[in-house]
Symmetry: D3
Subunit: 320 residues, 6 copies
Amino acid sequence: MAKQLMDLVENEDFEMFVMLKKAEKRVAKNGKQFLAMTFQDKSGEINGMYWDASDEDVAKFTAGTIVHLTGKRESYLNSPQIKIVSMNLPNNDQHLVREDFVQAAPMKEDDMKAEIDKIVFSITNATYSRIVRFLLQKHGEAFFEFPAAKSNHHDFEGGLAFHTISIVRLAEHIVDQYSGIDAPLLYAGAVLHDLGKTIELSGPIGTTYTLAGNLLGHLSIIDAEIVEAADSLGIAQDSEDLLLLRHMVLSHHGLKEYGSPERPQLLEAEILHDLDELDASIMMMKRAIGQTKPGEFSDKIFGLDNRRFTAQQKRNNLDI
Amino acid sequence: MAKQLMDLVENEDFEMFVMLKKAEKRVAKNGKQFLAMTFQDKSGEINGMYWDASDEDVAKFTAGTIVHLTGKRESYLNSPQIKIVSMNLPNNDQHLVREDFVQAAPMKEDDMKAEIDKIVFSITNATYSRIVRFLLQKHGEAFFEFPAAKSNHHDFEGGLAFHTISIVRLAEHIVDQYSGIDAPLLYAGAVLHDLGKTIELSGPIGTTYTLAGNLLGHLSIIDAEIVEAADSLGIAQDSEDLLLLRHMVLSHHGLKEYGSPERPQLLEAEILHDLDELDASIMMMKRAIGQTKPGEFSDKIFGLDNRRFTAQQKRNNLDI
Amino acid sequence: MAKQLMDLVENEDFEMFVMLKKAEKRVAKNGKQFLAMTFQDKSGEINGMYWDASDEDVAKFTAGTIVHLTGKRESYLNSPQIKIVSMNLPNNDQHLVREDFVQAAPMKEDDMKAEIDKIVFSITNATYSRIVRFLLQKHGEAFFEFPAAKSNHHDFEGGLAFHTISIVRLAEHIVDQYSGIDAPLLYAGAVLHDLGKTIELSGPIGTTYTLAGNLLGHLSIIDAEIVEAADSLGIAQDSEDLLLLRHMVLSHHGLKEYGSPERPQLLEAEILHDLDELDASIMMMKRAIGQTKPGEFSDKIFGLDNRRFTAQQKRNNLDI
Amino acid sequence: MAKQLMDLVENEDFEMFVMLKKAEKRVAKNGKQFLAMTFQDKSGEINGMYWDASDEDVAKFTAGTIVHLTGKRESYLNSPQIKIVSMNLPNNDQHLVREDFVQAAPMKEDDMKAEIDKIVFSITNATYSRIVRFLLQKHGEAFFEFPAAKSNHHDFEGGLAFHTISIVRLAEHIVDQYSGIDAPLLYAGAVLHDLGKTIELSGPIGTTYTLAGNLLGHLSIIDAEIVEAADSLGIAQDSEDLLLLRHMVLSHHGLKEYGSPERPQLLEAEILHDLDELDASIMMMKRAIGQTKPGEFSDKIFGLDNRRFTAQQKRNNLDI
Amino acid sequence: MAKQLMDLVENEDFEMFVMLKKAEKRVAKNGKQFLAMTFQDKSGEINGMYWDASDEDVAKFTAGTIVHLTGKRESYLNSPQIKIVSMNLPNNDQHLVREDFVQAAPMKEDDMKAEIDKIVFSITNATYSRIVRFLLQKHGEAFFEFPAAKSNHHDFEGGLAFHTISIVRLAEHIVDQYSGIDAPLLYAGAVLHDLGKTIELSGPIGTTYTLAGNLLGHLSIIDAEIVEAADSLGIAQDSEDLLLLRHMVLSHHGLKEYGSPERPQLLEAEILHDLDELDASIMMMKRAIGQTKPGEFSDKIFGLDNRRFTAQQKRNNLDI
Amino acid sequence: MAKQLMDLVENEDFEMFVMLKKAEKRVAKNGKQFLAMTFQDKSGEINGMYWDASDEDVAKFTAGTIVHLTGKRESYLNSPQIKIVSMNLPNNDQHLVREDFVQAAPMKEDDMKAEIDKIVFSITNATYSRIVRFLLQKHGEAFFEFPAAKSNHHDFEGGLAFHTISIVRLAEHIVDQYSGIDAPLLYAGAVLHDLGKTIELSGPIGTTYTLAGNLLGHLSIIDAEIVEAADSLGIAQDSEDLLLLRHMVLSHHGLKEYGSPERPQLLEAEILHDLDELDASIMMMKRAIGQTKPGEFSDKIFGLDNRRFTAQQKRNNLDI
C-alpha cells in the first residue's frame, strides 16, 4: 500500500496524492495572498501553507479537490506541518476517487445497517418500536452517512451510526449485567438519541450547523420528530410510553448546562447519558493518544476539559 | 366589608369564615394525630395546628372545605399563626361560595381575554398569528384559569394569563422605545412562552406537576405543541418563521442551567427572557414587602437568590 | 418464608423478629426520654419511635439486639414508619442469629473470591500482578467483608468486593469492545481502586470514618500501600509501571473537587473513573426506585445531585 | 451625502476622508515597522495596516488626525479590513472638523438636557432632588459628553447621558404599569447610577480608566460624591433617605461578582439594576446585528456571555 | 475560683450563678409556652429549655438577667445542654455584676489603647496619619467596645480592637521580613479596615445589623467616613494618598463575592486581606478545637467552609 | 559593576555579555527561519528575535550559551524587547561562567542550610524530627538547588529552600503571637511541604515536569516519601503523629480544586496553607511591581487570578 500522510516522519521528503480538506485564502503580513490548507487522506490530516498564491491558484485549489503534492513533513509549534514544494492537479488519466481519501467509520455501511436492524428487532415495546422504525425510515439515509459531530469525536463519514452502535453494544452489556432495566426503552433511546443531528448538521462534508441546529439544537429537533411520528402513527401524545421516550432523548446530555432541558429522571435515561459520555471519551482519548509519540503527552483535548493524555512508552499505536 | 385574615393583628381574637387550603394529618411527638392546616381567604393565608384531631375531624376537614373559625392570631418563629379555639362546618343556610375565598388575578377574566385578543390582533406575521390563534383556541380555557407557577410568583387563579399580559405590556413599551425590533415575533413569543404550563401543571387548585411536567418541562411541551400546530396548519417545519418562534419559547429561560436547551440568539428572544424575569421579580418583591412590617426585612425570597427586601418606613402596603 | 419488613403495606398490623440497627436515646419536648430506632432485616429497614423509654429499656434495647416486635406499619412525612405496640427480647430458646437480619452482597463470599481470583489471574503484567496479589493478601479479609461506603451505595456487608467485581465485569466488556486498552493496567486499577476503604472505614457494622480516613482519605491510603508493597517486593519506585498504577488509584475520583489530586491522564484511568461512577449510579437508582411506589418519584438521592427518579408504572420491584 | 465607511461593500475601491481613531506603531515579523490603524467616521470604524511606515509617517499619522484615504475594502478573518493604497494629510484649504467624524449619541445634547431636566423635576422627594441637582450641577458638563463605557455599549460621545435617559424612560413605564413603586427614589437612582463614570473614565476621546477608576470603581466614586453632597447640603448622614439613595447606586450592578458591595434589597434597586442590564443588552445586540449580514451570526459579544446573535433574513439594518 | 459552665462534665449536677444571654418565648407542640434559653458566663455558653413557663416567668427571665441556676449538664444531638431543675432571681444582697459573666477580649482596654497609639505613632505619612487620628477620635469609644462581628469570630466585647491589634502585629512582622512594603499605608489600612463596623453593628450586646449596615455594608461605610474626614482635614479628594487608602479598606475582603467592589491591586492591600483572613481563621479554629474533646472532630465551622477540625489527642485545651 | 539587562532604558543602544535562556527555531510567515530568544543575566530577562538565522546559527546559539550581544532596547506590545544588531560567541580568552548570569535566591546556600538546620533543631517531637532529618538527608542536595516552581514564583536556583525558609520565619512569628499551636508539627510540615518538588520537577535549569510529577503531583510524592521514611525508621504507619504529618503535606494546597485530596482539618495545616499562599503572593506581587513603571499597572499575574498590580508613584524599585 502506498505511503500515507500519517506514515511520514519528521523531515521526510515525499510525493503523494492527497485531498484538500480546507483551502482558505488569507493575506500575509507582507500583503501577499496565500492559502491555508489542510491535506487529508484516509490516514489523517496535516496543515500546510501555500505561499504567494495567484488568483488562478485560489480558483483551482478548493476544498474537496484531489492534488498531487510534493513536499517535506516538518513541525510548527509542535504540530506536524507540510512544507509544500509543488502542488498540481492530477492528469486526466489518473482515476482518483473521493472515497479513497476520506476518513470513515471502521465498519461498512451494510454491517452497520445490519447491526441497527438487529437492535431494532429487540425493541419489544410496540410504541418504541414503531417510532424508531418510522424515524429510521425517514432519516435513515443521512443517519448512515453523517458524522456524529462537527469535530471532537466521531467526526467522520458514518460516525453517527457508528457511535450509535457503540452505545447500543454497551447498553446490551449493561442489560446483561444488571437486573431491572427496561431494555426496550434503553435501546430505543440509544438509537434515537443523536438522530436529530441529521437536521442539526449540514452533512458529512464541510460540516456546519444549520439554522435549525443553531436555534433549536439536536435534542429539541429529535423531540419534535418523535412528537410528529407519534401523530402520524396514531400514538396518543399523553401516553406514558411516549413521555418516557421523549424524556430519554431530551435528558441525554445529562446536565442542563449541556443543553438538556431536564436532567435524567429514569434509570435508563441516566444510563444512556453515561454510556454516551463513555463512548465519546474513549474515542477522543484514543485519537489523541494515537497522534502522540510514546512517552509524551497529547495536545489538550477540548471535549475532555482540556486535559492532556499519555500512555505507556511501550504502547503500540491505536486504531480508531 | 368583613374582617379578613390579613387584617388581624398579633394577639387579636376573632371569628370568621375561611377556606382550608391544606389539611394534612400528622402524628405529634406524643403519638396523637393532629391536622396541619393552612387557612385562606382572598386576603392571603395563615397556618395553624388543629391538635388531637379525631378520625371524624380528619374526614370532615379536608382541603377545599369552608369552615367557621374561632381563634387568636399569634406568632410562631416570626411567622403569623392561628391558635384555634374552635372550628365548625357552616350551617346549611349559610351560602358560602369558593370564589369568595380564593386569591385570583387582579383583572377580570373577560378583561384579560380582551387584552390578549388585542395583542393577537397586532401580530401581523401570518405564521406567528395562525399558530398563536390555533394554540389559544386549543388551550384557551386553561390559559385563563391556571396559575403561572406552583408557588413563587403569580401562583393564583388566572395568574398565567395575568403574567402574560404584564409581559406583553412591557414588550409594547420596548417596541415603542427602541427601533429595529420584530414586534410580531416578540408578541407571539410573549403570548406562547408559558402556555405549556397548562400541561405541565395539574390545574389551579392544589397545583402539582404532571408526569409530562416532570419529565419534559413546559418549554419542550410548548415547543412540541407549536410543531404539531404547524403540521395541522400546513406550515413547513423548516420555515424560518417557525424556527424563530420555536427558538423564542425554548430559549426564554435565558440560561441552560434554568432549562433552556439553547440560550437566546435573537434580539427578541433575549428581550422576552429579560421581561419575563423583570415581571416575575417585581411580583415576588411586591408580595414580600407587602407581608413585611415597615422598616423590617422580609423573609428570604427563594426565587430571588434568598435575598431579603425592605422598603422605606413610611411606605404604604402594596397591592399585588 | 416469613413476612419481612419490606413486605408490609401501609396500615398493616404485624409481629415479627427484627434487629435493631440504631437505638438512640433522646428527650422529647415534654421532657420524657424515648428511643429513636431503626429496625432492620434482610429486606431493608424502617424507623420507629419507642416512647417513654425507661432507663431499663435504654439499657436493654441497644444497636445490634434482635427483638420481637409487634406494631403497625404507618407513614410519617411520606416515609414508612413503625408504630410500636410492644417490643420484647426473644426467649432463650429462640435461636436467632445476626446473619439472618443483616443485608449483604447478593453474591456469596466464596463466589466473590473466585471471581476476584480469576481477574487477578488475567493481570499479565508482572508488576501489577505482584502488587495486587500482595495487597489482596494483606487486606483480603477486610476486602470481602467491608461495605463500599458508609452510606449511599454498596453500604452493606461484602459491598466493597461486590462493587469491585461489578466494575471488573464492565471493564472486561470495554476491553472486548474497544481496541488499544491496556487490560492488565485497567484490571489492576479496578481491583485496587477502593481497597484503601479497608483502612478508611471502621468495619462492616456501625461504619464510621477512622482518623486515617478523615485525615488522608482512601486514595492516599491505597497509594501509600502500593508504595510500601513495591518496597517489599523490590520494585523500583520510579518504574513506569508503578507510576501508572499509582496514577490509576489516585485519579479514580475523576475530579480534583472529588478528592483526586490529579485528574485521569491515561485512557485506562478515565475508563476506571467512568465505570466506577456508572456502577455506583446504577446501584443508587435501583435502590431508590425499588423503594418507590410505581408511578411516583423517589426521595432525592444525595449521591446523584439530589435528583428524584421514577420508573414506568407497570415496572416490577427491582432486586439489588 | 458622501459615501461613508459602513457603506463600502467587499472589494470596493474608494477614496474618502476619515479620522484615525487608533494608530499604533508595531514591528512586523520581517523587522520593519508598520502602523496598526483604526479608521473612523460617523458611520462606524474599520481596521487597516499601514506597512513599511517611515519615522516621518509615525510622527504624522497619530490618533485624532483626519486623513484622505485611498484604498479597497477587503476582509481578514471574516472581519472587514481596509487595504491602504495611499494616505495623506488633507490640504490646508480643506476645512474638516472632528465633529463630522465622531460617533455620538442619536440625540442632540440640548434635547438630552431638556429630558434630564424634566425627570429631575419629577423627583418630588426633597433629599433626592437636592442631591441630584447638586451633583448634576457639579458634573453636568462631563455627564453630557462622556461615553457610558470604554467599550461594549454606549461607548460614544454623549453615551452616558443617552444611556441614562433610556433607563429613565423604561423606569417611567414601570412606574405606570406597576403600583407601589417609590418613583422619586427610582428616578434619582437612575439619574445618578453611572454619574461616577465622569471620574472613573478619562473622557470621551481615547477613553481609559483613571487611577480612581481602577482603584475605587464608579460605584464607590458616586457613593462618596453623594456623601459629600449631603454634607454640603446639610443632610444628615444617617437619614433614611440618604441610606436608600446610596444603596441604589451601590447595588445597581446587581451581583457582588459584578462589583456591587451589596445586592439590591429594595424593590426600586432591583428594578434599576434590571433596567440597566436591559438597556445595555439591547444596545449591544442591535449593534452586533447591525454589523452582521442577514442570515448570518454576529461575532461573539463579550458583554453577553460571548453569545452570537442573528436576525431574520428579511430584516433591515438597525439604527443605533 | 467557683465552677463555671465549661467546667461541667456530662451528667454533672450543679448550682451556680449564670447570665441569660438569650430567653425566647416559644410554643411547644402540646400548646404550652416555654423559654428557649442560652446561659452564659465568662467560660462560654450552653443552651437549655425552661418548660411550661408562666407569663410571670416570661416577664422575669429576659436576656441580660443574672439567675441562680440548679440543673444537670446533659447532651442533646451531640451538643451540651442544661436540664433545668430550678431557676431563680438572686437575692438582693447578692451583688452580681454583668462584667463577671460576659466574655471579653483577653486584653485590657487600656492596653489595647496603648498598642493602637503605638502603631498610629508609626504611621509616618501625614495624610494617612491625620485621617486615622481623626477617625479614631470620632469613633474611638465604640472601637474599643464593639465586637468584630455578630458571630463567627471575635464576637465579644472589645473584639474589634483586639482583632485589629492582632492584624497590626502580623503586619509589623511582614514589614520586618519582606522589603519594599509601604508600612504606613499597611498600618493605616489595618487600623481602619473594620472601623465601619461601629456603624454597621448595633453595639456590643445583642448585636444586630443596623439599616446602614444592611444597605451599605461596613466597607462603603468606612470609605465614606474617610472621604468626609479628608474634607474636614482639607485633604484633596484626588490625592493619590487618599485613593490608595480608600482602596485599602474597600478591597480588604479580597473577592468581589465577599463584598469588595474592587479586588486588591496594591501589594499592601493584598497583604491586609491575607492577614485579616489569617487572624480570623486562627480565632475560629482555636475556638472550635477548644470546644471539642481530644481526639474528636469539632462541629462544622460556617466561616471556614463548614469544615470540621481536630487536634492531637494529647493536646491541652486552648485559650482564646 | 557593568550595566545589566534591567538597567537598560527604552531605545538605549548597548553591548554586553548575556546568557541565552531560550533559543527556539521558528519559521516566519515569509518562510525563513528565525530564532525566538530570551536573553538573561542576574538582573532579569528580555526577549528578542534573531531574524534569518542560518542552520549554522541554529546550531551555535542554543539555550545555556553565553553570547556577546550588541543591540537596542525597544518595546513590543508594551513589553521590553531587544533589537539585535549583532550576536557572537565570546572569545576563548573571555572567561565567563554560568553562575554570573543565572538568577538565584537572595541568600547564600550555606546560610540557607544553617537556617534550615536551626529550625529542624527546634522540632522537638521525635517522630517529626526523625522523618524530617531522614528526608532532608535523602533529598537535601536537590532541596537547596531546585526552584520552587517552573514559573510563577521562586522559579530560580535555590528558590525551593528560600521559599521554605520564608514560610518557616512566618510560622515562627505565628507561634509567638498565638497560643495553642503545635509548633513542632507546624515546622515539620513547613520544611517538608514542597520537598516533593525535587521529584516532581526536572531540576534547576530548563525546568519541566517529570512523568512522576505529571501523574502524581508533588503532594502524593512527598506523602509516599514520608511513608517510606517511616518504614525505614521503624515508625508505625498508624501512629497518630505520622497521620498528622501526612495530613500536613497532603492538605497544604488548601482546596481540593488545587490538588489537595483532603482540605486542612488541623489548626497547623490551615496555617501552613495560609502562610504558603501569603509568601507566594508577596513574591509574585513584588516581582510584578518591580517590573512596572511607577504609576502604571503591571501585566496580569496568572497566579493571582490575572489581577494587575500597581504601587505608589514615588515608590522605589523592589528587590526580590
